[in-house]
């Protein structure tokens, strides 16, 4: 039997607290924002590592983006992952959900498939949360979303997960292979392993594949493969507020505020 193969999909995003908004134009200024691994993906990484520690197998990182993302992905190697696959091609740029999930699925196919695929709940910069389900559909495998816990039965070839519900949870069991999305902030990411750190930043266990390597349909990737188009950008109409500053001593301000609260309700 081939080795149990797991893949964790991660995204590199600009740090949200370093993105500035121009007060006049209200446009985003990402020029000075450093890059980081998408914070919700840290929970996916941790659950993936934890699963590998419990059940064995091989755990690879899959990402899509420019070559400059590579050093950030090496954090995953230092944490314990085995290999990085970066899908990088200008032709992948401008992809919406359909084209992104297609490309990731082609990457997994090229890796020889996977028994278990982990994703974060959503990306901090897109926040659509639609990639895990879309990826599962392209791969024609089952899905368990918004998990806080996961266990496997390798004899039965099933995955059992605790899925968050509004005001509760459900325990679901589904056959492998399976795509799992991990509830944001549900796992405490481990520290990088210092004995692995030097290795992680030097190892050649990084594979870069372009569109031709993936044998991807050129019509299905990037901007070309994205059915949705942005027709215009507009400022968000935010409601005008009174902007009245309360002045005076602390006690007086608190009393004014209490009156305003009572009058408003």
């Amino acid at each position: 039997m081939p080795e149990f193969h797991m893949v964790v999909c991660v995204k590199v995003v600009p740090r949200s607290d370093e993105i500035r908004v121009d007060r006049e134009t209200r446009l985003l200024d990402r020029r000075h924002a450093r890059l980081e691994l998408n914070p919700p993906d840290m929970s996916a990484l941790e659950m993936a590592l934890n699963t590998r520690d419990r059940y064995g197998g091989k755990l690879d990182i899959l990402s899509m983006g420019p070559l400059s993302f590579e050093p950030l992905l090496r954090v995953g190697l230092a944490m314990g992952c085995d290999h990085i696959v970066l899908l990088s091609d200008r032709a992948f740029g401008g992809a919406d959900t359909l084209a992104t999930t297609y490309t990731l699925a082609k990457g997994i196919e090229k890796m020889g498939g996977a028994d278990l695929i982990f994703c974060g709940e959503e990306s901090a910069d897109g926040a659509t949360g639609q990639v895990p389900a879309g990826l599962a559909e392209w791969l024609n495998v089952s899905q368990l979303t918004l998990l806080t816990e996961l266990s496997l039965d390798l004899d039965k070839q099933t995955a059992t997960g605790r899925r968050s519900l509004k005001g509760g949870y459900e325990i679901l069991e589904t056959p492998l292979p399976c795509v799992v999305s991990v509830k944001n902030a549900s796992q405490e990411p481990r520290f990088i392993n210092f004995s692995r750190k030097a290795w992680a930043y030097e190892t050649e266990r990084v594979t870069v594949w372009n569109a031709v390597d993936l044998n991807a349909d050129p019509e299905s990737i990037g901007l070309t493969g994205s059915p949705t188009t942005v027709s215009e950008l507009a400022r968000v109409p935010v409601r005008e507020r009174k902007r009245i500053k309360l002045e005076g001593e602390a006690m007086a301000k608190a009393e004014q505020l209490a009156v305003i609260i009572r009058d408003s309700l």
Binding site: S16, V21, L27, L28, D96, T97, L98, E122, A124, D125, G126, A127, G129, Q130, V131, A133, G134, E137, S142, Q143, L146, T160, S164, K166, G167, G168, Y169, E170, I171, L172, E173, T174, P175, A185, S220, S226, P227, T228, T229, V230, S231, E232, A234, R235, V236, V238, R239, R241, K242, R243, K245, L246, M251, A254, E255, L257, I260, I261, R262, L265
Partner: protein, 340 residues
């Protein structure tokens, strides 16, 4: 790019809405989306159809008609009692391929997102998730989805020319609920369900639901940010006095000070309270989305440059830990006076 599953010019001019139910109750967000769907359909003089999978759900069809639907397609089957991605995915896919609607909308609940993400790929179509508004481009009969960008006060208007259905999801609380009209008449259509037990791969071993927090319609929302330093107990006390509830920005949620379901903003809850009381939060744009529907916004922050003041009706420059106890005391003594 490759075409979607509809053949060319095959779409029917209609707006369809996925109606999600839980143990015999329709999700509020489904009715909110239905209310918006009515507006879109009226602009185009199209039909509004609700898609209702479940088991023993006929009574809900009538309720959906009072909220604006012209037709409800009911898919009633024991295997649809609880949501599974395989069961609900299969019957919703088949129904959409039968009716070929131009537009298909879903509430962005946990299940709605699972379904939308999966089906959009199955239809080979685009999907706009978590839209902040929807309207019609009447000339070209296209759906225009408003999606807010990351962090900034900018929205993108997104359209799809050639792929169908035009899919979008909307979070709870974004659209207002229309008043029910009990005199409204509509058609209930039973759609035959062809589902075999072996199609449902996912087994539900246990299901627990209790204490659902719904911050979309609380009268007073007390929101805490980084500046409350994890002290949500004081905020809860204040909220209790005012008959409201507590929400938070992302940093305290990520830090584990408060449950994720209380996160307010673009990736959390969109609330429409009479008053939002913002404590120790800076006012990043993704938070503002969640309180913009408040009648009155009040804020306290120690940073005189905090952007939240721009979006407040009344504000205090000062330390939350100093002001909240005084405010609570003042409100409590007022209560005592009014009760005396």
């Amino acid at each position: 790019m490759p075409p979607s599953r509809y053949r060319e010019n095959e779409e029917s001019k209609a707006v369809w809405v996925y109606l999600e139910q839980e143990e015999g109750t329709l999700e509020n967000v489904s009715l909110e989306v239905l209310s918006k769907g009515r507006e879109l359909a009226d602009v185009m003089k199209w039909k509004l159809v609700g898609l209702l999978p479940g088991s023993g759900v006929h009574a809900l069809a009538k309720e959906a008609i009072t909220r604006g639907a012209d037709e409800i397609w009911v898919m009633d089957h024991p295997l649809l009692t609880t949501f599974t991605i395989e069961g609900h995915g299969a019957v919703v896919y088949d129904a959409v391929m039968l009716g070929k609607p131009s537009i298909f909308l879903l509430g962005a609940t946990h299940n709605g997102r699972d379904l939308a993400g999966r089906l959009a790929v199955r239809f080979r179509t685009g999907l706009n998730a978590d839209c902040t508004n929807l309207h019609m481009d009447e000339k070209d009969a296209l759906l225009v989805s408003e999606v807010s960008g990351f962090g900034g006060g900018v929205v993108a208007m997104i359209e799809m020319q050639n792929h169908r259905p035009q899919m979008a999801t909307v979070r709870p609380g974004v659209f207002a609920l229309s008043e029910p009209d009990s005199a409204r008449r509509g058609k209930v259509i039973d759609v035959p369900v062809n589902l075999k037990p072996e199609q449902i791969k996912t087994r539900i071993l246990e299901r627990v639901r209790s204490g659902v927090v719904d911050l979309t319609r609380v009268p007073v929302l007390v929101v805490g940010g980084r500046g409350v330093n994890g002290d949500f107990e004081t905020l809860k006390k204040l909220a209790e006095i005012l008959g409201g509830d507590v929400g938070a920005t992302r940093p305290p949620v990520d830090a584990g000070f408060i449950e994720r379901e209380r996160q307010i903003g673009q990736t959390g809850v969109v609330s429409s309270p009479k008053m939002a009381l913002c404590c120790g939060l800076s006012g990043a744009f993704h938070l503002l989305v969640g309180i913009d529907k408040a009648d009155v916004v009040v804020s306290i922050n120690s940073d005189p440059e905090a952007p939240i003041f721009e979006f407040s009706d009344y504000y205090i420059v000062g330390d939350v830990s100093q002001y909240l106890p005084v405010l609570i005391q003042t409100l409590e003594s007022q209560q005592e006076i009014s009760h005396a």
